[in-house]
């Protein structure tokens, strides 16, 4: 057994996993405030990446300005989505809202295709592609940057959900009617959660855009992001971070063992197996809140 190679796989797997977490935090934010899984998070991430590319490469702005501007735009867009689409559906069955987010994802994919075409564009963050050596272990720099961003966002949102506004958002997720009854603006709360998730989408879009290029395939991150969010428990930010690390390691190490046996492609299988097994064995994930039933 080559321990150095194995730990290299594990460390890079964990870093990739944290990039999944970066994406999954957006899902968790919306779920935490409205109990709806947002199937458009992939579309939002892709749009976030495109907006940054458009501002930096097409409009010629420096990245340090383009990224905050894109975040601001996406923040407003998140609020807009609630105002235009979700508000009408308040009180309807969750499956309706789910379908709406799916429709939104398709809409975003179509829109970016129409505006920017289908060819992959590069983000050009300026992070060196030279690997970093930790002893004998290779580590990708961009993954390290992405993991740091994920952990930064994790800390920020942990603090946020203890603040008064954050507590109100958690209250909304618990009970819409009770929230209305004490004067919480459910509409504004849901809007805020979408706005924040859209900002997270910019962060995820920038990092993933740098890793795999900016095109419509960024929206497919939803599958891995959703797996991480479900494994973590859908409403737990800590869960999203830890589940991301776990999934990343299982995927990277597992694929290395299984790929030679089946001739490749086992990554997707591992992710699918994790998602299915989580739902079957532990539907609330690692850290998800349980429905409380008192007898």
């Amino acid at each position: 057994m080559d321990w150095i190679f194995l730990s290299e796989l594990a460390i890079n797997g964990a870093l990739t996993g944290l990039l999944y977490s970066l994406f999954a935090i957006g899902l968790v934010l919306i779920y935490k405030a409205s109990s709806v899984p947002n199937l458009a998070q992939g579309g939002l991430t892709m749009l976030g990446a495109y907006v940054v590319v458009a501002l930096s490469h097409d409009a010629g702005l420096p990245l340090w300005l383009a990224i905050p501007l894109a975040a601001l735009f996406m923040f407003a867009l998140g609020f807009g989505i609630e105002r235009v689409a979700l508000r009408r559906l308040a009180g309807r069955p969750v499956v309706m809202i789910l379908m709406l987010t799916l429709g939104l994802d398709i809409f975003l994919r179509g829109t970016t295709l129409a505006i920017w075409g289908g060819t992959s564009r590069s983000m050009e963050l300026g992070v060196s592609y030279d690997p970093l050596f930790l002893g004998d272990i290779f580590i990708s720099r961009i993954h390290l940057v992405g993991a740091a961003v994920a952990i930064g966002l994790f800390v920020a949102f942990m603090l946020f959900f203890r603040s008064r506004t954050g507590i109100k958002l958690r209250a909304i997720a618990d009970d819409y009617t009770a929230s209305w009854s004490v004067g919480i603006s459910v509409e504004r709360g849901v809007g805020l959660s979408w706005a924040l998730a859209s900002v997270v989408a910019v962060a995820a879009g920038v990092i993933w855009g740098e890793v795999q290029g900016v095109d419509q395939s960024l929206s497919l991150l939803l599958l891995k992001g959703l797996t991480v969010a479900v494994l973590g428990g859908l409403d737990s930010i800590l869960g999203a971070v830890i589940a991301g690390i776990i999934l990343g390691i299982i995927e990277n190490v597992g694929a290395d063992f299984i790929d030679p046996l089946v001739g490749g492609g086992s990554r997707e299988l591992i992710v699918a197996a994790v998602l299915i097994l989580t739902v079957m064995i532990r539907p609330h994930g690692l850290f998800g809140r349980h429905d409380i039933e008192r007898v």
Binding site: A178, G183, I184
Partner: protein, 270 residues
């Protein structure tokens, strides 16, 4: 008594009709006045329209696709018939909804924080919390546990405490006694009376437990089939023979068969 009834009521609801889904008429011209600083009860059996009346006042009809199709509601002389629920809370109406409905995954302390009006300073919020914990010492003991695991009585106390954080002038409660042991009902009603006296808070209480309610309110309305069929002082209602027969268990103390039957019916009616 006479003077108070003649003063301007804090809440006046005039001939209000409520439609659900644009077809189902739930209340048909209900008029209710709450004099400032008084405790008023809405009595009646299940499906009579008591909860709908409260929702019309608090603006929670929208969540159930109901709307006020006729009539008007005035709070402190101001028309609030079409106001948003959150604006009514700001003006001072808070509705403790039926079934307790605390924020289960939050702690009692966070439940109180969640209800704090935007712009309430941290020190005011803490003072409010301490006041509420003083009214409900049981909550103080469990302030950091998970609200979903509190007992029924504690959850009802938390639901009332959560409403008090909004600093209401009119507190409306929907069946606070539902599913609680008689000694808890007495405890909670005692605290309501205390709050009413100490803070001068007006209270509108919806109850099926007419016997308990008529002990603490000054005036009551009896609602049947979406209409007010009787209105009078608590004393007058208690001595009315129809009320005694149908709502107080024949005037021979509490008839628990009757009470039990009503709460069982509720499950499929509402």
């Amino acid at each position: 008594m006479q003077d108070k009834a003649e003063a301007q009521p804090i809440l006046s609801m005039n001939s209000v009709e409520v439609l659900y889904d644009n077809v189902m008429l739930a209340i048909k011209g209900v008029s209710v006045q709450v004099p400032k600083g008084e405790m008023i009860a809405l009595l009646g059996s299940n499906g009579a329209g008591k909860s709908t009346t409260l929702k019309a006042i608090s603006g929670l009809l929208k969540a159930e696709r109901g709307r006020i199709s006729r009539g008007e509601i005035k709070f402190e002389g101001e028309d609030i018939t079409d106001a948003l629920a959150q604006n009514r809370v700001q003006k001072g109406i808070c509705h403790v909804i039926e079934g307790r409905r605390v924020f289960e995954h939050l702690s009692p302390d966070e439940n109180l924080t969640a209800a704090a009006p935007t712009g309430m300073s941290r020190s005011t919020l803490n003072a409010e919390k301490e006041k509420i914990y003083a009214y409900f010492p049981r909550l103080a003991e469990r302030r950091n546990s998970q609200a979903g695991y509190l007992s029924g009585g504690e959850q009802q106390m938390l639901a009332i405490g959560r409403a008090l954080v909004t600093q209401p002038k009119l507190l409306m409660l929907d069946e606070p006694s539902l599913g609680l042991a008689p000694f808890l009902v007495a405890e909670i009603f005692g605290i309501l009376q205390k709050i009413n006296k100490e803070e001068g808070m007006s209270v509108l209480l919806v109850e099926q437990n007419a016997l308990a309610a008529l002990e603490i309110v000054s005036e009551g309305y009896l609602i049947e089939n979406g209409r007010v069929v009787m209105n009078g002082t608590a004393e007058a209602l208690k001595s009315n023979s129809d009320i005694q027969e149908f709502y107080l268990g024949g005037g021979e103390g509490t008839d628990f068969h009757n009470v039990k039957h009503y709460s069982r019916r509720k499950r499929w009616l509402s």
